[in-house]
Amino acid sequence: MSVLRLESVSKRFGNVVAVSDVTLEFAPRQVTALIGRSGCGKSTVLRLLNGLEQPGRGHVNLFGAPMDYDALPRLRRRIGYAVQGTGLFPHLSVRDNIVLLAQLEKWPEAEIEQRLEQLMTLMDIPLALQSRYPHELSGGQQQRVGLCRAMMLRPEVLLLDEPFAAIDPLTRLDIQRQMLELHRVEPVTTVLVTHDMGEALLLADHIVVMRDGAVVRCEQTSNLRRKFPDAEPNSLLLSLMAGERQ
């Protein structure tokens, strides 16, 4: 039974077709990267997956059932969500940002504390930073906090919308490694929207290439590595995008 699946999904905004007849099954407990140029529809796909957008045609299946749009808050608690620019709440401390959902779920204080420490340690955030406000952190630290917040409730699905796009390359590499480590420890079904092929190759088990709202290629990362062992990531992406629509 699939955790996450799009069936013949189309979505348009006015006259603009954002997503055109996309069918996708996301591999459970693995990382799938959605990649393509800006405006190719990859972010819209992500927003369809947590109900921020509703499909014009087709179905979204979540946790083995068609998505129930009347129960969205409940469903979304089982989906971690992190975005570019972090979306941390500026009026809450690092700690309060991370534990907000757990508090709303009325977790016992001890469990909250334990989970908080575990995540901060995994993401390599000094525990002393938890009383700081987001604006007092570096961009990389903020992004780590965003990931911790997304993972707090031990979600079954993790949606990442270009989370590392605005971070300097060296820091990005650190966070990507920590992200891999996090996924090794807690392997959740992850959808990563990115425009960085290097990142996709590093983090994802599957790579879905999108163009003009449609899926043009769907490959296992290991296959790609085998077929194009020496390819430079961006040229590889270009050649993949040039392929015919599936």
Binding site: R47, N50, L52, L72, P73, R74, L75, R76, R77, I79, G80, Y81, V83, G85, G87, F89, P90, H91, L92, S93, R95, D96, L100, L101, L104, S131, Y133, H135, R149, A150, L159
Partner: protein
Amino acid sequence: MKRRGPGRRRWLLLWLLPLLASVVQGGDSHSQAGLVRVGSKSFAESYLLAELAAQLLESEGFAVQRKTGLGGTLIAYQALQQGAIDLYPEYTGTLSRVILKQPALAGGPLEAALAQRRLQVVAPLGFNNGYALVVPERLARELSLEEISDLASYPDLRAGFSLEFLNREDGWPALQAYYGLPQVASGIEHALAYPALDSGSLDVSDAYTTDGQLETFSLRLLEDDRQFFPAYDAVLLARTDLPPRAGRALSRLDGVIDDATMRRLNRRVSEEKLGPARVAAEFLEARGLPGDASDARASKAAGPSGHILRNTLTHLKLTGIALGLACLVALPAALLLYRRPRVARVLLYATGLVQTVPSLALLALLIPLVGLGQVPAVIALFLYSLLPVVRNTLAGLFGVDPLLKQVATGMGLTPFQQLRRVELPLAMPMILAGIRTAAVISIGTATLAAFVGAGGLGEPIITGLTLNDHRLILAGAVPAALLAVAAELAFEALERLLIPRHLSA
């Protein structure tokens, strides 16, 4: 942890409840036996006449409540009709023209028209406070000016009139045509006219016949020889349900004050600053009428300056209750409107409309509905406070970063949780700024509450302005300014309490 729960905010609202209770109790006690409520408008002569009536009634054993300084004819008349006061000094010309709107009405027909409205004239006081033309005494003697008609022979005389007189239908244009006067008139602020006449830079101006300053500046009133100006005979206007014994007591004032006497009394109050209570007591004594000449009583009645604390507390109470109620209504209203932007816009226009109603007009509208005193004042202040609170709350909520709203939704917060955990805290600086604006506006506007007998710091200010008493004005203005500053400081403290420093405006 520095987070402040909403419980604390709820406590902030709770302190308003006792205040609410006190305003309900503080409402008008309706006419109990033996109590007569004497009103006046907000100028010195009216204060003085009210004081005469009050002291006379007190000497007859009546308990008297003074509701002086009501803000203009409309408010005083409404208050009388409504039964919030039992009598006040009025003028026949004002009765026929402004109130009954039948300018020709006088004598018997006027009394009949009043009787229809359950009102009566209990004592014509004997003087006429109408418009007149004045010239410097020196010039009058030189040119033998006695009557208005005499001006016709001197087209070169420089005439300067108050803007109102210059533009009123029954002012200069009609007067000029009626008497065939050749002078070209210019406008001059009334307060400057007398010094101008005195120094010889002006020859003719308008005046009120009982103006105390006429004596100070040695000016001659020209006789209205062809009876152009309507009579503004002073009377005590009362409700017909005034106890007959009170009516009889007041009738002893019948005709006891002529124009010159009234000028002298006005001068005693406005120029010599003796206070209406003392001047009234002296007058009654000199006429052999029963009054209360004891200095202690007189100075007590005259000196609201001794009541700074009481006035400040009243002021605080009026603004506090109005602001509290406005928050109780405006905040939930703004939250409801937040989800319906189109309705929000319509309602914002509506509250904006209230803001454009002049405060005295609003108060006058409220008196027929709720009577005199603190209730109409609180309602008016409440209405004025709505707009800044609603508008800022909405602006604050609409101004929250859309990305944060999207993240809040995307991570599974219910609409209510989003509002409470994200949108409201982020809008809080704007919301507090709105309440702060409303508070400062209220503190300023509440000085007008004295016009409807609600007390507060407006009482000494308005009394001081009418009696030309700077000490009294300061006794109201200084605490009012300090209150405004205190409110600013209090809100700054509240902001520090509720808002992380990096988010404060």
